[in-house]
Symmetry: C2
Subunit: 244 residues, 2 copies
DNA sequence: CGCACACTGTGTGCGCCATACACAGACCAT
DNA sequence: ATGGTCTGTGTATGGCGCACACAGTGTGCG
């Protein structure tokens, strides 16, 4: 219950004010760090984010960052919190399906905007304000369904996992459509060469379908909603079971 | 189509023999590298795997590894290939549901045995023998269903994503049950403190359920199959739609 | 009003990392 | 037998995260 036991970064992000203290005023705020780091990551991927680069971007020395952030991992937390803005406002007119779909698409769009998010090593469950707001928003999509709160949590996590997973498949360095297409073609080529029908009949059959873009193919909007619908059908089944 | 364009590591893993060449015989094989690296990763996580440590484990110098592996990323590929052994043999007696469930559980067990797999930055779609064998095995689970090959691929990927995603939630450094329990309790505590019912009613409602273990709670076997069943229900719905 | 001291940003330095490059020796095709 | 190619090695470079000591700053307390 003691708020002081919260890591410094969390305190800052929740705006928990320390009483006015002696010493010089901080020259900036963690949100400045987040902005600088995100700028670097958007431009050059997560690998382009280092303490020194972020500090240089801000015009300060490397070590000054450690007055705001305990370790590099904290930097990631702050970046995440800042990269997802507010969660989408879900139209209550829509059914739960429409709402969670909108939520999933907003999440996907966030990942598209900041592909480096997928490269961040996941290590702690979320506790920052925007992260929780997204959770809340996702849970709210199931308002009016007979799902219990834990069921809603599971359902939301399922959708969350789906979006992350598919985004991961969509080639991690998206941005360049030409690059994606080239990488996809190279992959299909190699797969065709290695996955011979005698040893890998299932894979080979998949490759024969001309429409199919291959495993790492361009996971476009159509395929996204198609797979998402499958997940939602599963949730629907659970709801139906409860309703009877 | 030219095999020589394959990266060296892939050639080695597929056992493509280069014609006998001048020069000293290689002192070891990439599989030795894989074994050493996996040993280190099992003991100390992916962070414990460095070129020098792996080399030391083998009794060679750091730079010698680069005669077998073009870069660190290749090391990861080799580790992955070696960590998953052969895919499970699926009992044809079972229906598709039983088969894909067995496949998912085998996959989950693999991730449990080698948690560091989840820390590997995903960058390339799989092309190594065992990876393809697992794909083939997963696709084979849908033998006898009306699903088309691309449908089967989507379904398998869905299950694959689900397993990865849930494993990710299960606290990435599992192993120690006490540590998991402690981390979980700390998380629930903080969440209770931060997610106040006024601003986060949905999350708060979830926390009120005494049974619930919280977001990052111990994702035990029961919850795993429960969530998996939801996914499979979605696939079932698709099958049913095709059958009519 | 003044002062003690907590806090700020800075500079230096350490150990580790991935990997480029030049080299001496080992071995097969000819 | 020998030329050329491949092996493992030693050395070196630039980057990284971060520990630590320091000088200056400004607030709360006396």
């Amino acid at each position: 219950m003691d708020e002081s036991e919260l890591p410094r970064v969390l305190q800052q992000m929740w705006g928990i004010e320390g009483r006015s203290r002696p010493g010089p005023k901080p020259a900036f705020h963690i949100s400045d760090i987040a902005r600088a780091a995100i700028k670097l990551a958007d431009a050059g991927g997560l690998a382009a984010v280092s303490m020194s680069k972020v500090a240089a971007e801000l015009g300060f020395t490397t070590m000054s960052l450690y007055r705001y952030v305990d370790a590099k991992d904290d930097l990631y937390v702050v970046m995440l919190e800042h990269a997802f803005g507010d969660p989408p406002a879900l139209d209550p007119e829509l059914g739960w399906r429409g709402r969670i779909t909108a939520w999933a698409e907003a999440f996907r769009d966030g990942l598209r905007r900041h592909p480096w998010i997928l490269q961040i090593p996941v290590q702690e469950p979320p506790l920052s304000p925007n992260q929780l707001a997204w959770m809340e928003s996702g849970l709210g999509a199931f308002e009016g369904t007979p799902l219990t709160p834990p069921d809603r949590l599971s359902a939301m996590l399922l959708v969350n996992i789906y979006v992350r997973g598919t985004a991961q498949l969509t080639a991690n360095m998206l941005t360049e459509p030409d690059a994606i297409r080239a990488a996809d073609q190279l992959y299909t080529e190699r797969l065709t060469m290695l996955a011979t029908p005698d040893r890998f009949p299932g894979i080979a059959a998949t490759l024969e379908q001309p429409l199919d873009e291959g495993y790492a193919g361009d996971f476009d909007a159509g395929e996204f909603t198609f797979g998402l619908d499958t997940v939602l059908d599963g949730i629907q089944a659970r709801i139906t079971r409860l309703t009877n």
